[in-house]
Amino acid sequence: MTKTISYSQGILEAFEYVLSHYPESFILGQGVWSPWYVGNSMQGLDKKFGKERVIDSPVSEGVCTGVGVGASLFGHKPIIVHPRMDFMILAMDSIVNQAAKWSYMFAGQAHPCVTIRSIINRGGEQGAQHSQALHSWFAHIPGLRVVMPYSPKDARDLLIASILCNDPVLYIDDRWLYEQEEYVEDIQEIDLSLQGPKVIRAGEDITIVAASYSCFLGVEVAKLLQTEGISCEVVDLRIINPLDITPVLKSIRKTRKVIVLDGGWKNCGLAGEIIASIVENIEPGLLMSPPKRFTISETPAPTSIELEKIYYPTVTDICDFVRTMF
C-alpha cells in the first residue's frame, strides 16, 4: 500500500514499527511524555507502548546516553532522544569515548548497538545555544555511524535501520523538514551498512552535494536554476560516517562542477571533507571550476530576526553563488 507521509510522521511510524516488532527496544529521553511530543514526532508512543518502554527522563543528557550504551550491551535496543543537539554536548563522553570505541577497545567482544536521536532545531530567535548543527564533529569519530535523512521515506526507513544496526548510530533529524511530504511504500527493513549517498535529482551541469535540510535547499536551487537553463544534479549523502564518496565522484565525472551545501560551519566541517575527498580522488583536469562550498557564517546563531534572516542560507543566496560558477 502506498500513501503520503510527512517527515515527522515518518519518524513516528519508524518508532511505532520498532516498538511493535522488537520487544527489546525502548525509548529514553527528555520530553517523550510531554504534550509537545518532540515536535509531534513521538505523539502518543507512551500511551500506546507504555511508560516503561517510552521513558521520559531527568534533565541528564550524559547519564541517559550512557544508559543507552549500557542497556544495548545486554540485548536491548535503546533509542536515546536529545530533542535539541546543543544539549547533547553534555553527553560527549558517552558518545565519543564509550559508544564509538567500545567494540574496538574490547576487540569486538561487545557491541553497543544504541541509537542516539538528535534534532537540529533552528530559527525562531532561539539563539546561539538552541540552534547548532554539529554533525561534522560526530562524523569525525570512527566507530560511530552518523545518519542524516532528508526525505520522509529516509526519515522512516533509516531510523528503523539505525535501531536494528549492531553498531552505535547517531541519527540526526531536522525540524525544518518535518512538514515535507512524500509518497511512500510500506515499510521494508533495510540494512544500514549497505546504504550510501543517492542522486535525488538528475542534472548535467553541476553537482550539488548535501545532507538533510541542505538537500531541501539543493533541490529548490535546482528547480529555480532549471528555469535559467542550468541543470543541477543533487546528491543526498544520507550517511556522513562512514562516508562513501563514490556516488559523489560518479556524479561529478558527469557534471564536472561541484558545490557542497552544509548547514554547519566551514572550518573543519562536512563540506570541507567532501571537497577534500573529491579533490583526492578525481582525475586531474576534470573539474571545470574550483569546487565550492556554501556554509553558514563563522559565528554563533544570532537571535534577532533581522540577523537570523541573513545567518541561514536561502535559496536565493545559493542561486546567486552558483551562477558565479558559470
Partner: protein, 357 residues
C-alpha cells in the same frame, strides 16, 4: 512556617578513624562457620597482589609499556564484593581494575597477555591494562575515563530491570571520579528508577597525586548517596569481612528490587597513581611514613593472622600457596612473551561490527 531555612552542613572530616592508618590494624574478627570462604578470600587477595606485583616489576623493567594503574593494598574491596556477584551480573571498572577482573574470575593469563599487547590478551591487544574485559564472568569492561563506565553500568542495571532478570549492575570507581558530574546524574537516575545497581567507591584518599582534602570539602563520598536518598555503607576497605557484609546487604536489596546501593570503602594504594613505583615524591601529602603506616593496615595480613591464630591457616600452607601462585604467574608471563602480536592487517578490525562500504 519558615520562609528561610538554614540546612546543616556535613562535617569536613566525616571518615574519622576510617582514614587513620594507625587504626584498624587489628586481626579481623571472623566467624568459625565462614572459615572456608575466608580462606578462599585470603588466597584470592594473595593471588591478586602477586599478579599486580609481577606487573609492577614488568613495568619497572620496561618490558610492559602501557600505563598500568595497580591496586596493591586495595584487594579486599574487589574480593569482598565479587563474593556476591555471579557471571550474569554486570560489573564495570576503571583505569585501576585488574583486581576487579581477577576477583570476578577473569583469566590471569589473558590479563598478562593484554598488558603485553598480544593477540591472546583479554582484549586481543586492543585494550592494554586500562581496557580489560571478561564478559564471561560478568566483568563487562573497564575504561580510563574515570567516571565513564558509571552510566554504562546504570544502563546495564536498567536492562536487567526491564527484562525481569535478577542481575545487578556494578560500577567500581574512585574518589576522584566523584568530582565528575556524571556521577550525580547516575546516582539520581538509578535512585529515581529504583534500579538494581551497586555503586562502589574505592576511596583511597588520593586522585593521582592530590589528597582528597585538597579536592573535596569533605573526605567521604557517601554524602552523595545520602543526597540521592540511596542506601549506603561506609566501610574499612582493608577489612574483607566488613566489605563482604556491606556488599551482601546492598546487593541483596538491589536484587530484591529495593533499589540501588552505594558502598564507600576506605583504603590506600601502596603504589603510585600509575606504574610500579611507590611515588612518595609525587603525591601531595603522601609520605614514606604514611605509606609504611598504611602497610600495617594490610588487608591480607590482617585476615591471615586471624585465620592463623585460630589454626585455620598455617604458615606452610601460605608458603605453598604463594609458591604455586608464583609458578602460575611465571608460566603466564612466559606464554605472554611468546604469544603473537596482533597482525598488521587487523588494525581497523572491530571499529564497526557491520560492514563498511
Amino acid at each position: 512556617m519558615e520562609a528561610i531555612r538554614i540546612l546543616e552542613k556535613p562535617k569536613s572530616k566525616q571518615l574519622g578513624d576510617l582514614s587513620d592508618p594507625e587504626m584498624f590494624r587489628h586481626n579481623l574478627s571472623i566467624n568459625v562457620q565462614d572459615v572456608t570462604k575466608l580462606c578462599a578470600q585470603l588466597e584470592k587477595m594473595i593471588f591478586i597482589r602477586a599478579v599486580e606485583e609481577s606487573i609492577a616489576e614488568l613495568v619497572r623493567d620496561g618490558e610492559v609499556k602501557c600505563p598500568c594503574h595497580l591496586s596493591v593494598g586495595q584487594e579486599a574491596i574487589a574480593v569482598g564484593i565479587a563474593q556476591h556477584l555471579n557471571s550474569s551480573d554486570r560489573a564495570f571498572g576503571n583505569h585501576r581494575s585488574h583486581s576487579h577482573f581477577l576477583a570476578m574470575g577473569g583469566d590471569m593469563e589473558s590479563l598478562f597477555a593484554e598488558v603485553f599487547g598480544k593477540e591472546t590478551g583479554c582484549s586481543k591487544g586492543r585494550g592494554g591494562s586500562m581496557h580489560i574485559y571478561a564478559g564471561e564472568v560478568g566483568f563487562h569492561g573497564s575504561v580510563p575515563i574515570v567516571a565513564g563506565t558509571i552510566p554504562v553500568a546504570v544502563g546495564a542495571a536498567l536492562s536487567a530491570k526491564l527484562s525481569g532478570s535478577n542481575a545487578v549492575g556494578v560500577a567500581f570507581f574512585g574518589d576522584g571520579a566523584c568530582e565528575e558530574g556524571i556521577v550525580h546524574e547516575s546516582l539520581n537516575f538509578a535512585s529515581i528508577m529504583k534500579l538494581p545497581m551497586l555503586f562502589v567507591v574505592e576511596n583511597n584518599l588520593f586522585s593521582s597525586h592530590l589528597d582528597i582534602c585538597l579536592r573535596q570539602p569533605s573526605d567521604s563520598t557517601a554524602r552523595f548517596a545520602v543526597a540521592h536518598e540511596m542506601e549506603s555503607r561506609v566501610v574499612d576497605g582493608n577489612d574483607v569481612v566488613a566489605v563482604d557484609k556491606a556488599a551482601a546487604e546492598l546487593i541483596e536489596r538491589a536484587r530484591a528490587g529495593h533499589g540501588p546501593g552505594f558502598l564507600e570503602a576506605i583504603t590506600y594504594r601502596w603504589l603510585g597513581h600509575v606504574g610500579g613505583n611507590s611515588d612518595i615524591d609525587v603525591g601531595v601529602r603522601r609520605s614514606q611514613s604514611e605509606l609504611e603506616s598504611w602497610k600495617k593496615r594490610d588487608p591480607i595480613s590482617r585476615l591471615y593472622r586471624a585465620l592463623e591464630e585460630k589454626g585455620n591457616y598455617t604458615k606452610s600452607k601460605l608458603q605453598d600457596f604463594e609458591k604455586a601462585t608464583q609458578d602460575l604467574i611465571k608460566t603466564a608471563i612466559e606464554k605472554a612473551r611468546r604469544a603473537p602480536w596482533p597482525k598488521a592487517d587487523t588494525l581497523c578490525e572491530h571499529t564497526y561490527d557491520e560492514k563498511v562500504i
